[in-house]
Symmetry: C2
Subunit: 247 residues, 2 copies
């Protein structure tokens, strides 16, 4: 039995990946039942994080990867002079903490933007399963590599796109991720503030607000504070591709 006295953990529940409907996000496909059974051991416990609370902070010792069961979080890094850069927003089924492997210390802050529950996967267990099941080792390397590829896309956005293109890409990305989780792709709630969106996209919050208003004025979206409805996804795609809408 794992250590269990940590606050906010729920170690008593018997975790079952095979019955989790987020399985496809976390666990490799095409395993034998025996192997899937082995994966159940990955998750040591669950942990709840309240809105605004950190899952971990830069400098914390790295001990586990976390899989989000439900909720929403942001990752961010800070420069020495205090500038914050949001590096990612995370939603259910995604893994957090991959940055910590490098130096056995986390290099970014992760904070919940709404009440969140995660599966705690001690890194030791990942290593143990990796050593035992080749399929899983490949799977985990792919997860790491996929994060590298994702960041390439973000660098393209930060390095060469205008404010409107960035926001259009951002909205479409969220839309697609919501859809793949069974939610509406055309209507959702932004869990982050304008400042956080701005930080993620390399813009100021006022710019984010203005561009959203412009999109709204052009009938691409309907915005009401945090509530967003995508009216003309094709129009947004056109903007991402560099060509301003031609209505």
């Amino acid at each position: 039995m794992p250590s269990s006295s940590v606050l906010n953990t729920i170690p008593s529940l018997r975790v079952s990946c095979s019955h989790c409907n987020l399985r496809e996000h976390c666990v490799p496909l095409g395993l034998s039942l025996k192997e899937i059974d082995r994966l159940e051991d990955l998750v040591a416990s669950r942990k709840r994080i309240r809105r605004g609370e950190p899952l971990f902070r830069a400098g914390d010792r790295f001990e586990a990867i976390y899989a989000i069961r439900l909720g929403f979080l942001k990752s961010s890094v800070m420069s020495s002079d205090g500038r914050e850069q949001v590096t990612n927003f995370h939603m259910s089924g995604e893994l957090i903490g991959l940055d910590g492997i490098a130096n056995e210390v986390h290099s970014c802050d992760v904070v919940a933007l709404e009440d969140t529950e995660v599966c705690v996967i001690p890194y030791e267990r990942i290593l143990a399963v990796s050593a035992e099941i080749d399929e899983y080792n490949i799977h985990f390397q792919k997860i790491l590599s996929r994060e590298i590829v994702r960041q390439h896309g973000l660098m393209l956005l930060l390095g060469s796109m205008h404010a409107e293109e960035r926001l259009a890409a951002f909205l479409l990305n969220l839309s697609q991720r919501f859809e793949s989780r069974g939610y509406s792709r055309s209507e959702f709630v932004l869990r982050m503030t304008r400042a956080e969106i701005g930080s993620y996209l390399g813009l100021k919050l006022e710019t984010v607000s203005r561009v959203l208003s412009r999109f709204s004025h052009d009938n691409l979206i309907v915005v009401n504070q945090k509530h967003v409805q995508i009216v003309n996804a094709e129009g947004l795609r056109a903007i991402v591709s560099g060509q301003p809408a031609d209505v």
Copy 2:
């Protein structure tokens, strides 16, 4: 004996990692002699790439990771509408191709900026050694994670720094990498064009040129085309930290 008919490869040489002075960059420390011996098998062959030629291109099937023996390369991604974003510059001892693990296809272009020689490490062998030597599996996961952390830093740069800060950070980073390879930290040759620097830093080539001229005028550096000498590293550091130099 590995397949050897591929153009530009040098399979006949018996590769020896243990005698390579770049060892510390590629190979984990603290292995037994037996284990180090096993690592020799990682490198299947060497390959030469002429200046301007690609090592691989986005869409190419992923088969190997490459370790740079000597030379200089850039990685870049292209958006659907043709914008190029340089995602990294690579120098000796560094590994290339980690992006390909995700989808078994490379997702970026890698092109040599000067005549280059790389060690070809088939991914299959990495998996084989990973399965055999736990130390190496951890080492390789750390390499992947380190790349994620590096990109966080770049996102901070692209998302929240001004042109001068970006270039100062860029020069200091190069300086440090040259130094750790035994070259001068204060005097080096830029192998890439202004346009490539600009792409990497999210700036236009004219801006890069202007900022370098400004640095030169402020006696922080001496520039002569591709030749750069860092005169006042402390001043550059001050700029990165947000405070303009206070001569």
